[in-house]
Amino acid sequence: MCFAFPGKILKIEGAEALIDYESETRTAHVISNEFKEGDYVLVQGKIVLEKIDSDDARRWLAMIHGRTG
């Protein structure tokens, strides 16, 4: 994806993470040690940029997928 999207880290193996975007799962590069499984993160251009608040991330994903409330 070419601009930042929220997703949940399902698994980290070395420098790669499996990210759950609800509609799909995709891999992204992890370039820092600060992330762990279960974290909600911002991913852009296949790079995990930073961790984001989980409530915010869930609301954001709901917005993206057209769910209200």
Binding site: C2, F3, A4, P6, H29, I31, L42, Q44, G45, I47, L49, E50, I52, D53, D55, D56, A57, R59, W60, M63, I64
Partner: protein, 158 residues
């Protein structure tokens, strides 16, 4: 090499097209076209840009008449995105419904590069806030440079 003003506009405008798409104010084909153009630095027809970013152009036209310039000039574009855009986000009804993270990302900030690696920059702004952003638009940026950040990108070096 002078970059076309349409490209400059799109560098600032594209990251928030996400929000316009959520409001269903842009269709998928136009969105994909804008995305490709923003990533590759290719210019897009002014008519398409003005039709997609209607609110931005309304505001830019006002700024243009304040500044006595053509609204399609880099100075007007910069004035809007760097100095006025954040106030718009604070007041806009649509943004109020968005999660705080998204609203924050849509702001432009003046930031200093504190680290760079692997296609990203770590920047510091505000009161000791740090964010990781893409280097795609500023490939030559380095530690110590001042940049304008918007969404997940450093848009330009100041």
């Amino acid at each position: 090499m002078e970059e076309p003003v349409e490209t400059y506009f799109l560098k600032y405008a594209f990251p928030c097209t996400f929000v316009i798409r959520l409001r269903k104010q842009v269709d998928e084909p136009t969105f994909r076209k804008l995305e490709a153009a923003a990533m590759q630095g290719t210019p897009v027809d002014r008519a398409i840009l003005e039709n997609t970013y209607k609110k931005a152009f309304l505001r830019m036209k006002k700024i243009a008449s304040e500044m006595g310039k053509d609204y399609w000039s880099p100075q007007v574009i910069r004035e809007y995105f760097v100095n006025r855009h954040n106030a718009v986000i604070a007041e806009d009804e649509g943004y109020k419904e968005a999660p705080a993270t998204l609203r924050e990302l849509c702001r432009t900030e003046h930031a200093t590069v504190v680290d760079e690696r692997d296609g990203i920059l770590v920047v510091q702004f505000g009161e000791n806030r740090t964010r990781t952003v893409s280097k795609a638009f500023v490939p030559d940026a380095k530690t110590g440079d001042r940049v304008v950040i918007h969404y997940g990108y450093a848009i330009e070096v100041e």
